[in-house]
Symmetry: C3
Subunit: 137 residues, 3 copies
Amino acid sequence: MKSHTQYLTFNTASRREYINITTDVERAVSDSGVSEGLILVSAMHITAGVYINDAEDGLIADIDEWADRIAPLGPDYNHHRTGEDNGDAHLKNLLIGSQVVLPITAGKLDFGPWQQVYYAEFDGRRKKRVIVKIIGE
Amino acid sequence: MKSHTQYLTFNTASRREYINITTDVERAVSDSGVSEGLILVSAMHITAGVYINDAEDGLIADIDEWADRIAPLGPDYNHHRTGEDNGDAHLKNLLIGSQVVLPITAGKLDFGPWQQVYYAEFDGRRKKRVIVKIIGE
Amino acid sequence: MKSHTQYLTFNTASRREYINITTDVERAVSDSGVSEGLILVSAMHITAGVYINDAEDGLIADIDEWADRIAPLGPDYNHHRTGEDNGDAHLKNLLIGSQVVLPITAGKLDFGPWQQVYYAEFDGRRKKRVIVKIIGE
């Protein structure tokens, strides 16, 4: 069995941002030398997400508006009694999901035609990380 | 380490449909010859879901009504400026989830008494695929 | 390849409860002898969740209130025609997620500074299980 671990680092200019990391994941697959296996791509923070969807700007705007409608920024969350102001980001993380597992077949990311991996920042403007962990042979 | 890859194909008659694929996953486990391992079951499209829940028709109707309340069909999504009409299906995919990872123990799917794996079609009437990827020994 | 399987058992006093199981997962990693690998932590029931988030009581109250706003207890779900009263718990399971996959690096759970694994009971007061399945080397 082979394994391979990489950490991606983000420090977004905006509070919320959506970053296509598919190329980074493909590079990790190539670096790993794994031809059949699984990749975990998981946010190491609880106010960010990782999801699979389309690289289309309109859809990204829809995802952002939808997540903020279902888990709105600002309301008086209980969590804010700690001095934090990011209760919404914790809930957006649960709504969108904070990790995906991807298949490697014949040395490549085994994706459908429109699948792309995104990092979703819900409380940025500081350094955050994503782990890419590959196991296989 | 052993690995095994299968693709399930769907072409539903309706826009939205919920299909129990537990038997297909169990067959893949059997075909793989893996006795201890993990199975990734993941939609290869971004307008479909894969989830674990109950094989009960009332509940399936509840899931469909709920998903359409939280991410409604039809509103004027930004994504629709591309000519698409399936913005809701992309959001339903994020709400319900598009993949599950299942345990194999002693050569069998290690499930609780009521767990079943479902394919959730949110924008059907065309050919779509799910990957079943098994690794283990 | 090594594998390791453990089952955690819960029987909560309340209908809904949120239990930090990070220590249990860390013990499973240690028991497994795996230094590089993946851990699946998955509810074996369809009315419970497993998620990664913060060990902060205010946030846990926010998660509970939010899940009950998005998938409310009580309404007349179709599922209740079977005699059940837990339609909300099935939907909360889909909203919050019922499983996570965690990385093991250098023999330890490879987590960010605030990540904790929680068992979320949405329909308790009876015995329920979570599977912890580790594969790696």
